[in-house]
Amino acid sequence: MTTQPVTVRQAPDQYAKPLLIALLSGCAVALVLGLYGGLHHPTHYALDIAGFSSPLYAKAWLTTAAVVFAVVQLGTGIRISRPDAPHGIATVHRWSGRIAILLTVPVIIHCLYALGFQTYSIRVLIHSVLGCIFYGAFVAKMLSLVNRETMPKWVIPVLGGVVFVSLVGLWATSALWLFTTKGVHG
């Protein structure tokens, strides 16, 4: 009689701690990025990436490529846990995600190092906030995946959704804006 309630109470506890760690880590990453971007004095210069007319276009095309891989992520992510998922879909999902996130790294370093957290217009403010959310959600998702059997079912899809939506938002407030105002070229 006494053991029965204990096992019932243990069920939520099994995932509460890893989930809490993952979410708090994500929040901490987002906060640290925002604070660094806001407090670090922008250098206004950074390494150029060869082959583009300006660092801005290099960043825009890298982000665009990341969004293409993110669309693959969305397509594979919504099918990955179905019983009838095609063979190899998990591999495609993982590697498209790895490539996408690595493509964004040079971009965020340039943003943070050379420009920082800026608020001078609505577009720029949204972009700055989304940048912090994106990496925070990414870290939370990676840490959730480590113990994903113990997570509630909704955690991975929700975090994945936040990562995808914030990346598309980042792309729309930077690369899409650049292409529509300054033209599509290298």
Binding site: L47, L56, G97, L102, I108, M142
Partner: protein
Amino acid sequence: MSRQGPLLTLGSVVIVAGLFLYGNAVAAKPGGPPAAAAATTTPTPTATATSLPAGATSAPAHALFAGRSSGDQVTVAIAINGKKAAADLNAGLASEVSLQGSVSGDLVSLTSSSGTRLTGSVSGPDMFGTVSGFLGQSFPFSAAQAIVQAVYAGRSSNGELTLAVSTDGNQAVAYVCNGHTIEAWLQGSVKGNQVNLTGSKGASLTGSLTGLAMFGMVTPNTGLSLPFSAELSPHPAGVFQARVAINGLATRIGWAVLPDGTQVGVAVIGSTRQPAPLLDLSDGAFTLDGGSFTAAQVAGNATVVSP
């Protein structure tokens, strides 16, 4: 069951980010070739370049000396402006005498209408001399050159370039531009009446201070040298600068402002140049591409050319 995959992904992202940050911190430098390093070396003025008698040591063309009598009872202030000099002796309440005089080489000689006489000799940043006939007394004095902050603003001979020079003691910065595509930031020294400034890509400015004006040659980085004149100018004249990020592009904007409020500036957004936005001279505010920013006046001891 734990999985290593997500942690490996996370770790590789952190490592790549660290490499890029390290690369930026170590390798990335502001634009411009290493020629900018010349800003720290000052060309020695040749004898023919000076407007003063060869061989004679001379007082600065512009200087303010402040000091005291040997007994510490009288304050002495002497202003030198070209060949003219003026002085003020003050021993407290109602005991003030104004003197007028002239400069010859490193010697100053001044007199007042009441018969007070001051003679002094300039030696580097100091002046030593004697006051006679002040309240019936004669005494020696010493004075030191005060750091003078000044702005000279003007144009090139053909009116194409506008420039402003900001001095602070023996340091000076300048901004010269045509308001569209040509611009240069310059930095250097003021020695005696000679101003020698250099910038990146061979830009330079050499000038002589004579009276209330500066005359010389300015070479923006187009390589074409033009003669210019600039006058000692009150507010709002000055060199103004803003460094901001516009749409993700590092942007540097410079303005040369003349005493009548005329402002000419160039905004370098990324690598493109365009006329600078209108600067509100009362508070330095301006708007560019929908954003509101603030520019600051640049003092003569600021660093405007990257070493």
